[in-house]
C-alpha cells in the first residue's frame, strides 16, 4: 500500500510494522508526530504495545532499557537536547547489550535555541556503542527501522535511525508501506537467550572488576566489527523481499567520477540532483552518500574512492578544534589504503541553513579549481 506520509510518521509506521512492544518517549520538536501517531496506534490497538509516557528523555531511555532487559522489543524517538540528555543511558543500552531502536531527528544543539537541522546531536553520540543509520527519504526511514531491529537483535547492539529536522521529519513523500505478514517473515519476534526473569535469577550490570570489564568491551567491539556484514546481508534480504536495497553507502555515478562528493542524510539526495545537472555540463562528478556511520564502512568507502582524483566531504556538523566529523572518518578510512588523494573538507548548513543543489555546484567548482585544499576547513555560505 502506498501512502503520502511525513518522515516522522515513517518512523511510527516502521515501529508499528516491527511490532515494537514497549515504547517510552517524551515530546520534543521536531520529533512529536512520531510519538503522537504511535500513541494513537497503541490506543486504537492497531499496535499491541505498552506506551510509557515518561517525564523526560532520560527516563524514556531508562524505561526502554528496562523493558528490553525483560525481553520486549522497544522503541523510542527523540532529538537534540533530548538525545544528549540520554547520553549516559546510551552507554547503558549498548554496554548492557540491549537492542533498543531509536529514531533521532537531527536538530542543532542550543544555545541559541534552534529547532533546525544539523548533525551535531547524533554525531556527538559517536562513541556510545550505538549503530547509526542516516536516512535520505521517508521510505528509507521506514525501511531502516525494520532493518535496524533485525540487525540490532542479531548483534545485541542498539541502533539509532537518524533523519533531518523538517527537510525529512516534516516533509511528505510517497511511501510504500509493506505488508505486515511480509515484515513478520523478515523480522521474527524478539526472543533473547538471556533476559531478566525470576525463573533464572541473574544480576545484570553489577560491579565489574578490571578482571572482567575489559573483555566485555572487547566483545562489544568484536560484534560491532561484524555489523557491516550483517547490515549488508539484511539489506540484501530486504531487497529480495521488498525491492529496496539497504546498504552501508549509496554511491551515485561514482564509477567514472573524478570528483566524488561525500554526503549524508537528505543532502545526499540534494547532491544527486546537483550531480545530474553537472554531469550534463560535462563535469565528471559523483556522490557517495554514507548511510551507516557506525560501524563506519571503511572497506566500502575505500573501494568506491579507489579511482577518484579528488574527494569533497560535506559535513553538516563540526567537531570544534578539529574538523567535520565525516571528514575525519573518511580521512582515517583512507590512511595507508590509498594514494595521497586530496580531501577537501566543507562545513555547510549548520543550524538548518539551507543546502541546495547550488551548494554542491559551488563545492564542486572549488574542488575542480584547486589542486589541493587551501584552507583546513572550507566554510560554505558563512557570513565572516
Amino acid at each position: 500500500m502506498k501512502k503520502v506520509i511525513m518522515g516522522n510518521h515513517a518512523l511510527s509506521y516502521g515501529a508499528m510494522l516491527s511490532r515494537a512492544q514497549v515504547i517510552a518517549a517524551y515530546p520534543i520538536t521536531p520529533q512529536t508526530q512520531v510519538v503522537e501517531l504511535l500513541s494513537e496506534m497503541c490506543a486504537d490497538k492497531i499496535l499491541d504495545a505498552k506506551f510509557i509516557k515518561v517525564e523526560s528523555e532520560h527516563s524514556a531511555m531508562a524505561a526502554c532499557i528496562g523493558a528490553s532487559l525483560a525481553g520486549a522489543r522497544t522503541f523510542t524517538a527523540t532529538s537534540a537536547q533530548g538525545l544528549t540528555l540520554m547520553h549516559e543511558l546510551l552507554h547503558w543500552a549498548s554496554g548492557g547489550r540491549l537492542p533498543v531502536v531509536m529514531g533521532n531527528i537531527n536538530r542543532a544543539m542550543a544555545p541559541g535555541w534552534s529547532i533546525w537541522s544539523d548533525q551535531n546531536d547524533s554525531l556527538s553520540q559517536r562513541d556510545t556503542g550505538w549503530m547509526q543509520f542516516y536516512c535520505a527519504s521517508n521510505q528509507e526511514v521506514l525501511d531502516t527501522v525494520i532493518q535496524a531491529f533485525k540487525v540490532s537483535e542479531k548483534l545485541l547492539i542498539p541502533s539509532m535511525v537518524v533523519l533531518d529536522a523538517f527537510s525529512l521529519s516534516h516533509t511528505y513523500e510517497v511511501v510504500e508501506i509493506p505488508e505486515q505478514a511480509k515484515v513478520d517473515e523478515y523480522l521474527p519476534p524478539f526472543r533473547p537467550k538471556i533476559r531478566i526473569t525470576p525463573d533464572e535469577p541473574h544480576a545484570f550490570g553489577g560491579l565489574t572488576s578490571p578482571e572482567h570489564y575489559f573483555e566485555l568491551r572487547y566483545k562489544l567491539q568484536k560484534d560491532m566489527e561484524k555489523a557491516d556484514g550483517v547490515i549488508e546481508e539484511t539489506g540484501k534480504e530486504y531487497q529480495k523481499m521488498f525491492g529496496r536495497c539497504l546498504g552501508l553507502v549509496e554511491p551515485y555515478l561514482c564509477e567514472d567520477a573524478e570528483i566524488i562528493l561525500i554526503t549524508s542524510g537528505t543532502m545526499g539526495y540534494t547532491a544527486n540532483v546537483a550531480v545530474e545537472e553537472m554531469r550534463k555540463e560535462g563535469v565528471e562528478v559523483g556522490n557517495l552518500r554514507i548511510r551507516v556511520f557506525r560501524p563506519f564502512p571503511f572497506r566500502k568507502i575505500c573501494e568506491i574512492l579507489k579511482n577518484a582524483k579528488k574527494v569533497a566531504i560535506v559535513d553538516r556538523n563540526i567537531s570544534y578544534g578539529h574538523h567535520g566529523i565525516f571528514y575525519q572518518e573518511v580521512k582515517s578510512a583512507l590512511y595507508g589504503k590509498n594514494r595521497n588523494i586530496p580531501l577537501f573538507g566543507f562545513i555547510a548548513g549548520l543550524g538548518g541553513r539551507d543546502i541546495t543543489p547550488s551548494t554542491f555546484k559551488e563545492i564542486t567548482k572549488y574542488t575542480l579549481k584547486k589542486e589541493k585544499p587551501e584552507d583546513f576547513i572550507c566554510w560554505i555560505g558563512v557570513k565572516k
Binding site: I52, A62, A67, T197
Partner: protein, 299 residues
C-alpha cells in the same frame, strides 16, 4: 507462622539473601533487604541504582540474592522499574513484583524526577527507599535526607547541616498513589507486613525504610537495631501508612514519647550539637508528631 523448637516465628524462615554479602558491620540496609524479600518471595525483580546495595550484593559474576537484579543508572530506579514491568507484561509475565530499591540519595535527590514521573503515572511498581541519611557509598556526603544538625564529610562540624530533612513522604502523598508506608528495620514484623501488603496492591507503592549506618553515623554496629527502635519511640521517624494519599494510619502509638537526646548521644554525627540546638530539634520533632497525629485523627 509455623512453630519451631517450641518458638513461635514471627517471620517466615525462608531466606532470599545469602551469607557472603559485602556490607559493613551492623548495616541496616542488609536487614531491610532480608526482611523485604521474605515478604515478596522469589517472584521479584529488583532494580538497584548506584547506592550501597549496588556493592553489598557482590561483584560480577556473584550475587548474594536469590532474586534477579538489574543494576541501573543512579537516577533511574523508578523509570527502569517501569520499563521492566512493561516489558514483563508484554512477554506474558503478569505476576512478578518489580521493585525499585534505592538509597536516600537515589530517591530524595537524583532520582526524584523519575520517581515523581512513575508515581504520577501510577506505574505498577513497588519503590523502596532504604534511608541511611547520606551518601554513604561514596563516603558520607550530605543528601537532602540528612537530618538537621548532622555532621557529614560535606557538612563539617563547624557548618553542620542547617536545613531539615526533605519530607519525602509528604511529596509522595501529594502524588495520591495507592500506598505509602514508613518502616524501620527495628520493627521487622511491621516492615514484613507492609511489604506483604504493598505486594498485593496495584499501582505505585512507596515504602520508606529507616536503615541506620554505623559507618556514616559514627555509631556502634551493635546499636543499629537499638537506634532503629529509638527513632520510632522518640517520634523522629514514626511508623505510619497513607492510603491513596489521604488516609493516614498510625501503626506504632506512643504512650510515652521518648526525648531525642538519648538517640542523638549514641551517634558521633551529632556529638557537636549544643543543648540549645538539641532543644530546637526537639521542638521540631514535637511539632511534626502533633501534625501527624492530627492527620491520623482525621480518618
Amino acid at each position: 507462622m509455623r512453630e519451631k523448637k517450641g518458638m513461635k516465628l514471627s517471620l517466615p524462615e525462608e531466606e532470599y539473601m545469602n551469607p557472603g554479602h559485602l556490607a559493613c558491620q551492623g548495616c541496616g540496609a542488609t536487614l531491610a533487604m532480608r526482611f523485604v524479600l521474605k515478604a515478596l518471595g522469589k517472584r521479584t525483580i529488583l532494580c538497584i541504582p548506584a547506592c550501597c546495595w549496588s556493592v553489598i550484593d557482590g561483584p560480577f559474576p556473584y550475587s548474594c540474592l536469590e532474586v534477579p537484579i538489574f543494576h541501573c543508572a543512579f537516577e533511574t530506579a523508578a523509570s527502569s522499574a517501569s520499563g521492566v514491568k512493561a516489558g514483563l507484561e508484554m512477554v506474558g509475565d503478569h505476576e512478578t513484583t518489580v521493585v525499585a530499591w534505592a538509597g536516600d540519595g537515589g530517591t530524595f535527590d537524583i532520582g526524584i524526577q523519575a520517581l515523581s514521573g512513575a508515581a504520577e503515572r501510577n506505574d505498577d511498581i513497588l519503590y523502596i527507599c532504604y534511608d541511611n541519611e547520606a551518601y554513604m557509598n561514596t563516603g558520607i556526603q550530605r543528601s537532602s535526607a540528612t537530618p538537621y544538625g548532622a555532621w557529614t564529610t560535606t557538612t563539617p562540624v563547624k557548618h553542620f547541616k542547617n536545613r531539615p530533612k526533605k519530607d519525602i513522604i509528604g511529596i509522595m502523598a501529594a502524588h495520591r498513589i495507592p500506598y505509602i508506608a514508613t518502616a524501620s528495620i527495628g520493627y521487622p514484623e511491621d516492615l514484613y507486613r507492609k511489604a506483604k501488603k504493598a505486594k498485593e496492591i496495584k499501582g505505585t507503592r512507596f515504602i520508606h525504610i529507616y536503615a541506620p549506618c554505623p559507618t556514616g553515623w559514627k555509631s556502634r554496629p551493635e546499636d543499629t537495631v537499638k537506634l532503629a527502635r529509638m527513632v520510632v519511640q522518640n517520634a523522629i521517624f514514626p511508623l505510619f501508612e497513607i492510603e491513596n494519599g489521604e488516609k493516614y494510619i498510625l501503626n506504632i502509638k506512643l504512650r510515652e514519647k521518648k526525648p531525642i537526646i538519648d538517640y542523638l548521644r549514641l551517634q558521633g554525627r551529632f556529638h557537636h550539637l549544643k543543648e540549645e540546638e538539641i532543644s530546637l530539634m526537639q521542638e521540631e520533632v514535637d511539632r511534626k508528631w502533633q501534625r501527624l497525629l492530627d492527620l491520623c485523627a482525621k480518618n
